[in-house]
């Protein structure tokens, strides 16, 4: 935009900035409020209600939620499925995306059509549940990973990325006696690190946020990932059966405990977000505009 010096133009600019600032604040304040609330003492929480910056810092809520194994266990499950899931998903997505990116492979169009079709039509909850059950995956951690192992969307992004790598590079490698696996792992993948990193982060965030698979396939509460526990504690306001063995200690207000659990469940995403943010706009574009 070129500077618009008229009065109308200036007014427009000022109002625009003002509105955007307000929208930004509305988006941000709930997060700040929750983080601040999780770090404050029960006294301050009760006395002044609009905590945005706590004056009386305290970690009693965190000490409380980490005083039992429940949160540790759930964190462990989430970290484990996120790591394993991301590796598995990335591996099979990359293999398949490379296969589909090779123009000399017969049948790739058919497979591609079948992949895109799953984005338009699917069997739905019940038939998928029955398949998972038949495979004996109920109450296993595999059920958190395998049924959602490939995202068609991520696959298409990666395939498009691979297609943009100059074919000459692959051909010359082949002449030098490189196998197909060699080409993928020694040439294509190293050249695709930005795409690989973005999609790994996409997968990692999805696995960290896994909730639906867990409530569908896991009956044993001991295996719950952090998101399901978060719902128990905040939405259903139960779970956290810790008061029994902590009788002597006065528990902090439930509100700051809830906030602390939210922070714990959010933190890993906030940690990867800066890395994610660098790339995703481009990645999302390739995926949404069909080429």
């Amino acid at each position: 935009m070129v500077e618009d010096k008229t009065l109308g133009g200036r007014m427009f600019g000022i109002i625009n900035y003002l509105l955007l600032t307000i929208i930004g604040l509305i988006t941000l304040i709930p997060f700040v409020h929750v983080v601040a609330g999780s770090f404050t003492t029960s006294a301050e929480m009760a006395a002044k209600k609009f905590v945005i910056i706590p004056t009386d810092w305290s970690i009693e809520a965190y000490r409380f939620i980490f005083s039992t194994n429940t949160i540790f266990k759930a964190m462990g499950v989430s970290i484990g499925t996120t790591l394993m899931g991301t590796i598995i998903s990335m591996f099979i997505t990359a293999l398949m995306a490379y296969g589909l990116s090779r123009k000399d492979v017969d049948g790739r169009k058919v497979i591609m059509f079948l992949v895109v079709f799953t984005m338009l039509f699917h069997g739905g909850l019940v038939p998928t549940f029955l398949v998972v059950k038949e495979l004996g995956m109920i109450d296993t951690y595999a059920s958190l990973i395998l049924p959602t192992a490939i995202s068609a969307f991520n696959l298409i992004i990666l395939k498009n990325f691979f297609q943009n790598i100059p074919e000459g590079l692959e051909e010359s490698a082949k002449i030098d006696g490189c196998s197909d696996f060699g080409i993928l792992f020694r040439i294509v993948l190293p050249l695709s690190m930005p795409a690989i990193a973005t999609i790994s982060l996409f997968y990692a965030v999805t696995y960290w946020n896994t909730y639906l698979s867990a409530i569908l396939y896991l009956n044993e509460s001991a295996k719950w990932p952090i998101q399901v526990l978060l719902r128990q504690i905040v939405v259903l306001a139960s779970g956290m059966d810790v008061s029994a063995d902590l009788d002597s200690v006065t528990p902090p207000p439930a509100q700051s405990i809830k906030m602390a659990v939210i922070v714990v469940a959010t933190l890993p995403i906030l940690c990867v977000y800066p890395f994610l943010q660098k790339h995703f706009a481009k990645g999302a574009m390739i995926g949404s505009i069909k080429g």
Partner: protein, 316 residues
């Protein structure tokens, strides 16, 4: 004549042996495709096949081959059951709200953001509004719960501070829909701007130059240049949105659902879950799922055709 046929046969044989050679040459590529293809077969296509239980009285221990066929019985039940009609209307209302209140927001935001000259402001703003998209629905709903609750929630404290009655946002049925749509907007509006911003970025700056020469102000430029330029993107996204007519997000609604607001909050997805998996009515809820997927697919095709008739590109 015969000679020609023979020649054709030779060519055909040559072609097929060539194809065979090509396939053999690429055998490792097929090995690479295998895990992915298996995934799609097992977790996407077998469930599609599994949809035939909608025409059966499926009994888990008898399996698909042993269960009794009942034709369209479940579909008939669907359209006569008052429960289902209520759920269908809840679903359609939420969808309508999405279209009306959510869909225009990213477009407006993108237009506003496009008028921002400061790069730092723009980047900071984008970093903030993209963030909620990466939070699970559990996190989004949890954050609103601690803010909206009657005891100690900041929103009700503010309402009380100004001397009004506290509002039971989380249980009152009349607050379910506003809460739902505000959460959708809060989580997705920023992320939704990406694609419009990209479309805006590809507009020829000369057009604005010319418009300014003709004395067009910023609002007029927006109306006559920016909006028409991103029209086709808007239409494509609208088609996709309409195709998702019944996909309102199981997780989100399920998290907000409780015994008090069930009457307005129960949608097809949550009903499929409770009727199918909790009460064991596999066939009936598979029928509902099939109905839903089919309507979605049909709508994409219809809207896409309309878009093409209007001279737009459509999604396929």
């Amino acid at each position: 004549m015969q000679e020609v046929n023979a020649a054709q046969r030779v060519v055909a044989r040559k072609q097929s042996s060539e194809m065979g050679r090509r396939i053999w040459k690429n055998k490792w590529i097929y090995v690479m495709l295998l895990p992915g293809v298996l995934y799609f077969l097992v977790f996407k296509y077998i469930p599609m096949y599994g949809l035939i239980i909608s025409f059966q009285n499926y009994k888990p221990f008898k399996g698909i081959s042993g269960s009794e066929w009942v034709g369209f019985e479940h579909f008939q039940r669907l359209f006569t059951e008052p429960d289902f009609l209520n759920i269908l209307s809840n679903t359609l209302i939420l969808f309508g709200m999405n279209l009306l209140f959510y869909f225009p927001v990213p477009i407006l935001l993108a237009l506003m953001l496009n008028e921002v000259k400061g790069d730092l402001f723009k980047k900071t703003f984008q970093t903030i509004v993209y963030l909620p998209h990466f939070m699970s629905w559990v996190i989004i709903v949890s954050i609103s719960f601690v803010m909206l609750t009657m005891d100690g929630g900041i929103i009700n404290d503010i309402i009380e501070y100004f001397g009004f009655e506290k509002i039971n946002f989380l249980l009152a049925p009349e607050w379910f829909r506003p809460t739902y749509i505000l959460q959708v907007i809060w989580r997705e509006a920023g992320w939704g701007t990406i694609i419009y911003l990209a479309a805006i970025a590809s507009i020829d700056p000369g057009l604005y130059e010319a418009a300014r020469m003709d004395g067009a102000g910023r609002i007029r430029q927006m109306w006559h240049i920016t909006l028409p330029a991103i029209r086709s993107v808007i239409i494509v996204l609208l088609i996709l949105k309409i195709g998702d007519v019944l996909e309102l997000g199981f997780e989100h609604v399920y998290l907000l659902l409780n015994s008090m607001n069930r009457n307005v909050a129960e949608i097809i997805d949550t009903y499929v879950y409770t009727a199918g998996l909790k009460q064991g009515q596999f066939s009936y809820s598979a029928a509902i799922g099939l109905f839903k997927s089919f309507i979605g697919l049909a709508l994409v095709m219809i809207v896409n055709r309309i878009a093409k008739k209007m001279g737009e590109e459509g999604v396929y």
